[in-house]
């Protein structure tokens, strides 16, 4: 059961937090756009088309990250029956879906000047498309199924099955011969991208992360107000 004390605190906190996140998002996005479109250098091979990387890569990272969080929380929903987790996963999905769509569309646009084609059934692109379908299924399960308990279970199972696809996306460039190059940014190994490109990439990733947090807070707030709305009936 959701604890009323927690809901009250959450609504108060979220209302305050939203404004700060929106403020920081606008500032970081402005700096990121300036870096990505004007200040960062062109690539010696890809020329200015490399700038698409500053929206394509962060969008792919964040959509993958959001789905991983949804999947991990879904285990918590099924094992511990934590309903707050289901509210969190439900609130995370819209931004994850949009970031996934951005990654697919901007990847397609980038593919034309780089590979000479808008689309290829490459392992990385195909696995990202499968992730997009999992996002659609997850959101549809909430919309189609009327019974809340059943919707929670079905959406959680979808997210857990979809988790199998996450390492496939990550390692697809190593396991198969694909059009994509191996990862240039590594946490454990040496990063092969120059700092003049890594910094704008980092700033754009930060701005995208702030946007996903903002959308999450707004959606989570909406869900909590729905619960409080039902609570008015019980006064």
């Amino acid at each position: 059961m959701l604890n009323y004390f927690n809901i009250n605190n959450a609504i108060l906190l979220i209302n305050r937090l939203q404004k700060y996140v929106l403020f920081f998002f606008i500032i970081v996005l402005f700096i990121g756009l300036l870096e990505a479109l004007v200040l960062s250098p062109e690539d010696y091979k890809q020329s200015d088309s490399v700038r698409i990387m500053y929206v394509h890569v962060p969008a792919a990272w964040i959509s993958l990250g959001i789905f991983s969080i949804i999947s991990i929380l879904s285990f918590g929903i099924l094992i511990f029956k934590n309903k707050n987790f289901s509210l969190i996963t439900k609130s995370l999905a819209p931004s994850g879906l949009v970031f996934n769509l951005i990654a697919l569309v901007t990847g397609s646009i980038w593919g034309k000047p780089t590979w000479g084609t808008w689309w290829a059934w490459d392992a990385r692109i195909t696995s990202m498309l499968i992730l997009f379908l999992f996002y659609i299924l997850f959101i549809l399960s909430w919309r189609i199924i009327d019974q809340n308990e059943k919707a929670i279970k079905v959406s959680s199972v979808i997210a857990i099955i979809g988790l199998i696809n996450v390492p496939i996306i990550k390692f697809s460039v190593d396991w198969w011969s694909t059009l994509h190059q191996p990862a240039s940014v590594n946490l454990l190994k040496e990063t092969t991208i120059h700092s003049s490109m890594l910094i704008p990439l980092g700033i754009m990733t930060a701005s995208f992360a702030l946007f996903s947090i903002l959308i999450f807070l707004m959606k989570y707030n909406t869900e909590l107000i729905k619960i409080k709305n039902k609570g008015l009936d019980r006064l």
């Binding site: 809901i7 009250n8 609504i11 108060l12 209302n15 756009l33 990505a36 479109l37 004007v38 062109e42 020329s47 200015d48 088309s49 700038r51 698409i52 929206v55 394509h56 969008a59 819209p94 931004s95 949009v98 769509l101 951005i102 569309v105 901007t106 646009i109 980038w110 034309k112 000047p113 946007f211 903002l214 959308i215 707004m218 959606k219 707030n221 909406t222 107000i225 729905k226 409080k228 709305n229 008015l232 006064l235």
Partner: protein, 77 residues
């Protein structure tokens, strides 16, 4: 300088369309979620005002209800 930024060595169309698509997606998603939030706040306000005076007094004692109503008034403007 402006021409360089606009045309980007012949890649301007690809680069700008990617950025415009991304920012438009942000704008649409933000608007949709904001509208959903305003709709729920309005529903809450209507329901709240339809309560009896005793129940309103009881509800007003809770900080969360005050917070939701305060935000509803803001979004009306």
């Amino acid at each position: 300088m402006i021409n360089e930024i606009l045309f980007m060595n012949g890649y301007g169309l690809y680069v700008w369309s990617s950025f415009i698509f991304t920012l438009s997606s942000f704008g649409i998603l933000y608007s949709v979620i904001k509208l959903q939030l305003i709709k729920e706040q309005k529903k809450f306000e209507i329901k709240f005002n339809s309560l009896t005076s005793e129940k309103i007094k009881l509800a007003r004692k809770q900080e969360t209800y005050r917070e939701i109503l305060a935000n509803t008034s803001v979004s009306k403007i």
